[in-house]
């Protein structure tokens, strides 16, 4: 009996990608630190991002976003 092949869900994003996210009305650099999988509302895929939100590199925020809210670097 042929086994059922699991369809791998494709995302344009992966852990380690340098991306940009919205902050303060503009876009700031960020890095994807985790792919949380399809645990968002309605099964949407969530990513953990670490964003540099100030001039001081110590000012970083880590939070979760859906793919639609993540912009290419």
């Amino acid at each position: 009996m042929a086994g059922r092949r699991k369809v791998k869900e494709v995302s344009r994003l992966k852990v380690g990608d340098h991306i940009r996210v919205e902050f303060g009305g503009g876009l700031v650099p960020a890095v994807i630190t985790a792919d949380r999988g399809n645990i968002g509302y309605g099964g949407r895929r969530l990513f953990t991002v670490r964003a540099q939100v100030g001039v001081d590199p110590d000012i970083e925020m880590v939070y979760e976003l859906g793919e639609v809210d993540i912009f290419d670097a």
Partner: protein
């Protein structure tokens, strides 16, 4: 409707825990009567149970936060709230102890433990077992055992009782968070 987080707990995470149960059985068969052989596996099992339950709680928190954000159409407001909901989330770093769980869900406006106690009378016992699991998790992780957490006293039956408590709590968490979201936004997870 069950959350994606609960489904993951009941299938993917449960399967991971079943594998270490199987490892315990294999070692127990090979080394009959030698407790030392299985004790290390029991310690690993307790650690994995704690980490998988932490993962479930974090998943449910993410899922609930995403559901709360869904009706917010103003993009900048939505992203600001997204940052706020997961800012300094204790479950990203700390144990899944009752304090950390309650604190993180309180950020979403959910009085989790009060609702969980009201949901099922068995949750008081489950809560105590979760506290014990977290104490053991720390003792094992730091190799800092005590009278309450004596490495020699750790047995498979004890870890199984903690797992049963986690299963019950996971179902209650899922239910009360789903109800809260339904009341608030007219939609469940």
């Amino acid at each position: 409707m069950r959350s994606a987080s609960l489904l993951k707990w009941e299938h993917e995470r449960s399967a991971q825990l079943d594998r270490i149960e199987a490892a315990h059985a294999a070692v127990a068969d090979a080394a009959k009567g030698q407790r030392w052989a299985t004790n290390q596996i029991d310690q690993a099992y307790a650690m994995l149970l704690s980490s998988q339950f932490q993962g479930f709680c974090r998943d449910l928190h993410s899922e609930a936060a995403d559901a709360l954000l869904r009706p917010v159409t103003a993009v900048r407001l939505r992203l600001t709230l997204a940052r706020e909901f997961s800012f300094s989330r204790k479950l990203d770093r700390g144990n899944p102890n009752p304090g950390n769980i309650g604190s993180d869900f309180a950020r979403l406006g959910i009085p989790l433990w009060a609702a969980v106690h009201a949901h099922d009378a068995r949750n008081s016992t489950r809560l105590k077992r979760l506290e014990t699991l977290c104490a053991w998790r720390n003792a094992i992780a730091h190799q800092d055992f005590s009278e309450e957490c004596d490495a020699e006293a750790l047995m498979l039956s004890l870890v199984r009782s903690w797992r049963g408590a986690c299963n019950g709590l996971a179902r209650s968490f899922d239910c009360v968070v789903g109800r809260y979201l339904a009341d608030l936004a007219g939609d469940e997870l």
